[in-house]
Amino acid sequence: MSTQSNRAAARLMVAPSVILLFIWMIVPLAMTLYFSFRLYRLLSPERSGWVGLANYTWFLKSPEFWQAIGNTLALVGGVLVITVVLGILIALLIDQPVKGQGVLRILVIAPFFVMPPVAASIWKNLFMHPQNGLFAAVSRAFGADPILYLENHPMLSVIGIVSWEWLPFATLILLTAMQSLSSEQLEAAEMDGAKPISRFRYIVLPHLTRSITVVILIETIFLLGIFGEIFTTTQGGPGSASTTLPYMIFKQAIAAKDIGRAAAGGIIAVILANIVAIFLMRGIGRNLDA
């Protein structure tokens, strides 16, 4: 069905999207690349010039950098594992013949509609606050001292908050996928004496592969840039205990007002994001048959 003119028209129709995205990507990236080789401090604008790779070496040598990389990986990995595993379990549960399934879906999807600053501030103030938070009240009820979640376990707390935000997404995709599984197949397996565990392992799980792929792909895209949750709750602290790579760049740009270093960090982040992207697309993009 693809005649010559048809193809040309098709190209023309893709062009605006591609060109706009390309400009949107390349212009800021080129500027960032330029800044990354310059001395550019907002506090001393009179001193400027080329500094070669100095910004990059500062960034790579900073002990905070490796911690930030570790925290970023912990955040992305932790949230992915929690949301996929819990998502499967909750979807299995809701997929059973239960009363009020429609209402349950409404309850479960709610966190998805809560904007990150609100989610972070509810958790920080109403739940994790050491005096007035609900968790502190629960601790006291059991005669224990309240846990200082954001001070002593900042990374785990952030992972928990972000997991709560993304759990509905994972659960609902996996639930929809489970509901598209034909019941005959499961019934046949049941008749043949397959145990629930092996029914799950050999029928349900393979059926879910595509949806798990989509969950991982989409979540990774959003998780790599997580910023607002950290800004609202821990500000990357205490010290740099919950500083991720995006947050470290932000601190350089806004707190230290060193645009050159922030730009070098930005370029490093872009390179790392691309490595993750290639890995994802090669590894699981194949599954997609988009």
């Binding site: 693809s2 048809n6 800021p28 500027m31 239960v98 966190p111 007035n132 996928a177 840039g225 910023f227």
Partner: protein, 276 residues
Amino acid sequence: MARAVSPRRKLITTVAAWAVSLLIFFPVLWMILTSFKTEASAVASPPQLFTADWTLQNYSDVWARSDYPRFFWNSVVISVGSTLLGLAIAIPAAWSMAFVPGRKTKDLLMWMLSTKMMPGVAVLIPLYLLFQRTGLFDTKIGLVLALMLMNLPIIVWMLYTYFKEIPSEILEASRMDGASLWKEVVYVLTPMAIPGIASTLLLNVILAWNEAFWTITLTTTKAAPLSAFIASFSAPQGLFYAKLSAASTMAIAPILILGWFSQKQLVRGLTFGAVK
């Protein structure tokens, strides 16, 4: 997977499913309940689920203290505007990718998605400067453009997966009847794709509504949407729990209600074609 089960098992799974779902929903519920409490009972120890002296005072305080309608209107314009503009650009692209795929189509699609992996913070300063220079800073147009470009890959991908499900025979038939490319898109394809377009629209309105990085960094007052409203509230108001909860509820209520009403289409859209 509806199968006959014993009533006892149904009872157990029902109770368990409700318990888990309520647990997930609880933070939102707790915030809403707190918004109706007085400041004193909001921090009462032990905490009260319900309070005798419930009040609407927090809502009227928040309303009086800040210009909620303006923030709300900015959110509506920015989220709906960026989504509609995105759809206008993405529909032709997704159409041609789905029906006239080339060798590079898949790579192109993946490249589009990969542009979203660039952390926003990495390009914050350049975009900030660009927006300042071009006069787009703190304007609704500027945010419409930024969020449209941010969500464009998602829009293209979602539409693409929907369009692929439309049998191409129908398009061929219309072509036999002499329909031009343009007519084919407008009169044949688009009506068939309405459900898919609706899901895409919904999801992207929600993503744009909840976007809280560019909307906060690229605005100050004029174009600031609800994400900025709540950000400005949580800092000085941190310890006024009831007011903070009221402001938070006001910020998420519109999209929560929209989302609940359109839950079915939304979930279908969310699956990105992963579930056939």
